[in-house]
């Protein structure tokens, strides 16, 4: 019997360590309802886990935002010129 099966005997309970392993499925909304409920119960009373979850979510979103700030302001005009020179008079293949 897996550790998860053991947990299920008395309903799912999540401690700090278990929470780490569940984070991916939690933020991707792939946890079963009972596990998600146990996860939510835990973070409702565990400030360090709330902070960790927030950081886990925040880092990829912040990476996206930071990369978008690096787009050159003249990329669009350069790209349209580049493409126009090559495909403007062509029709997409079907």
């Amino acid at each position: 019997m897996s550790a998860r099966d053991d947990d299920k005997k008395d309903g799912w309970q999540v401690d700090c360590r278990k929470l780490v392993g569940l984070l991916g499925d939690y933020v991707d909304e792939q946890l079963p309802d009972d596990v998600r409920a146990a996860f939510d119960d835990h973070i409702a009373q565990c400030a360090p886990c709330v902070a960790f979850l927030r950081q886990y979510r925040f880092a990829p979103a912040q990476a996206r935002a930071t990369l978008l700030q690096k787009v050159p302001v003249d990329l669009e005009s350069r790209l349209l010129t580049f493409l126009g020179d090559r495909v403007r008079d062509r029709k997409p293949e079907s």
């Binding site: 902070a51 950081q55 996206r64 990369l67 997409p92």
Partner: protein, 205 residues
């Protein structure tokens, strides 16, 4: 001015139909709507502005050439970012492997941190709006992204930019869905940890 493409997928569909029929200005509008995200995704994966711009060019040339084969089974943006990531991944695979994040020892740090592995965390994600403006966060994120392996960066960014499905990612990385979920989770943990360390001023290991 082009509108937010992510918020207007139905308009993408109309533009694609027009472009497929030979309406070049419709294709140009698709370029305007998506070029920033494609560039940012490529830059994040490749970490090189010149190469990122080449990938953007290749992506939209490919998109134009193969637009006729796009049937609308997925969103146009999903299809486009898949094209972009394929171009970026091809470039990454031609390069020599770099000794980066794979050698970073994540699990032992989590398992030896005591009863709670979350002690002494900084509060850098408390106010993301403030952090968005922070040069400190930007610098720490750049350093953290540099330390991840190209594949881990790619997984995180494909998920962040287009919510690529686990099935799509598994296909692109030639592995299984459980394997990709595990790797994505580990990559996210590592990015969080590297960013945390960067913001706390720990020297890179």
């Amino acid at each position: 001015m082009s509108r937010d493409a992510a918020a207007q997928p139905n308009e993408d569909e109309a533009l694609v139909s027009a472009a497929q029929a030979g309406d070049y200005p419709a294709f140009e509008e698709l370029v305007r709507r998506h070029q920033k995200n494609v560039y940012a995704l490529a830059l994040g994966m490749l970490r090189n502005p010149a190469e990122a711009e080449e990938v953007v060019q290749e992506t939209f040339l490919s998109a134009f050439s193969h637009l006729g084969t796009f049937r609308g089974d997925a969103r146009f943006s999903t299809w486009l970012y898949r094209v972009a990531s394929n171009h970026a991944l091809m470039r990454l695979r031609k390069k020599k492997p770099e000794p980066q994040g794979d050698s970073y020892d994540l699990e032992p740090r989590l398992s030896t941190a005591g009863a709670s592995p979350f002690d002494a965390l900084t509060q850098w994600a408390r106010r993301p709006d403030d952090a968005l403006q922070s040069r400190e966060v930007e610098g720490a994120l750049d350093a953290a992204l540099d330390r991840l392996t190209p594949e881990d960066r790619s997984l995180i960014l494909l998920r962040a930019f287009e919510s690529a499905s686990h099935e799509d990612l598994a296909h692109q990385f030639s592995t299984t869905v459980p394997a990709i979920k595990s790797r994505l989770h580990r990559a996210r943990l590592l990015l969080r940890q590297l960013l945390d360390e960067g913001l706390r001023g720990k020297p890179p290991r």
